[in-house]
Amino acid sequence: MRTPVVVIGAGQAGLAMSHHLTGRAIDHVVLDRGEVAQSWRTERWDSLRLLTPNWMSRLPGYRYRGDDPDGFMTKDDTIAFLDDYGRSFGAPVRTHVTVEEVRLRGSGFEVTTDAGVWSCDAVVAATGASSEPRRPAVAADLPGRIDQLTALQYRNPDQLADGEVLVVGASASGVQIADELRRSGRHVTVAVGEHVRLPRRYRGHDIHWWLDAVGHLDERYEEVDDIDRARRLPSLQLVGSSRPRTLDLNTLIATGVEVVGRFMRVAGTRAQFSGALAHLVANADLKLNRLLARIDEFALEHGLDAELTEATRPPATAVGTVPTELDLGRFATVIWATGYRPSFPWLDRAAFDQRGRLVHDGGAGALPGLYVLGLPFLRRRKSSFIDGVGPDAAELAGHLHAHLDRRVPPAARITRAG
């Protein structure tokens, strides 16, 4: 089979790219191992909602038009939203096609799947930022008696054996899972590493409204001092819920969740945690207050001050004195909410550096004709959000179009009718 472009992955990124390719009349196919929004169907816990409010669900040529702009989509809403998006412009999605290998072939690529081989001039890897869970090496040292789950495998509290749970990680996944387990009546301990604390709402607006308004989400990858570090930042400590609420360490502690430092080591029958927790929470509070000061300044400059509610800062995080060792015998389950990473095991090794990292400049791969989309801070801070992938897709579709034009005279290119 021959097509100019193969897009791998039919989630928000693959569909946004498909929309732009369609707009440019560039023939392409979108392959997915399952259905549209497959990871939302199979790799998310039951209660998960988007972290961004509905009005921020904006994709190229499509946006949320329901009657609850300030609400947060459930998992099922999100699947339906992406399904509807793909249908809205007739995205050429081939479902249940698993990509096995993408290899450089001549000046193009050969994409081998379980449903045949495509040859193409360009490949867009849009399989997302969360293909694999990150799990620290210490996981291997836990006794076999303890059940281990990653956030990608967690569904709901009933899934877990009776007993105490240690949730490792306090970014969005960790705090949400810990909160849900605590509310189900479990005794829960959270091991906290570096995290980004945010209130759900500030001065009468959702925090994402502010991040959008002050231009934070639009910061570009060429502009930040240290893009590698910006790309490694943990996800925002937020929850989407039916009623907007803040979920931070103070909230968890108030409900009886025990908080400890980063999970460092297993020593015999005991788990050892970092003693640096006080530093991490103080640092998160400092950064939070710096952001809120920036928001206050923006409000003042734009004459919004009078119409806004009072600038009340969240109280400092109060973790108190916490243990640095706990008896592992207490825990029936450990849940690793220690982040995710993209994974491209099918991609030609020539696309990676010596340390196995995909080489790209804002999504344009080191191999001409190779693109990646939907990763954290790919081109702007919001790149991995539904609201952020569109502008990235627009720019990369332009780059891709120019690449095709350099390769093939436009007249000779197969284009889709209409």
Partner: protein, 187 residues
Amino acid sequence: MTDTDTPTVDNGVNVEALLGARQALTDAPQAALFQWRASCEWVNGTHSRSTVSGFSGLGEEHTHRQEFVLDADHPEVFASQDNGPTPPEIVLGALASCLTAGVATVATNRGVQLRSVTATIEGGMDLQGILGIDGDVRNGFDGIKVTYDIDADAPKADIEAIVAQSQKRSAVFDIVANPTTIHVEVT
């Protein structure tokens, strides 16, 4: 500097050299592998003397400008002769020194002139641990408190951010706060 609008910050830290080293070691990660060493000789009783002179890094051996000597002992309340600080006190000094070096470096990098920096450091210890009286009491500190008094040309929030960054990049902070695997052998 000829630009009179930008006051020159001088905390005695060569930030340009450090940033240059950061870039160089990013490009040559092997050179970033250092090994620090000390040797220690028993003198008498609880008195011992550590000597520090050589270390390796940047792909070669180095020696300090001079050999440095640290005496350690126990105080008279332990029926010792108090020929030097106790080893835990040396650890407290090392932690404060490491954080303070970080404060000076980060402040300079952020264009903040320091006038004075004083750290007070306290570590609590229940001797029932090392004396074997109660197996549930650990030998080491039950907690460490560091208090900084800093006089600098910057608002309090900026000074707090400098102190936070110094913890984030401190070797001894990490050494003390997090477990390290130790092998002790006898030849």
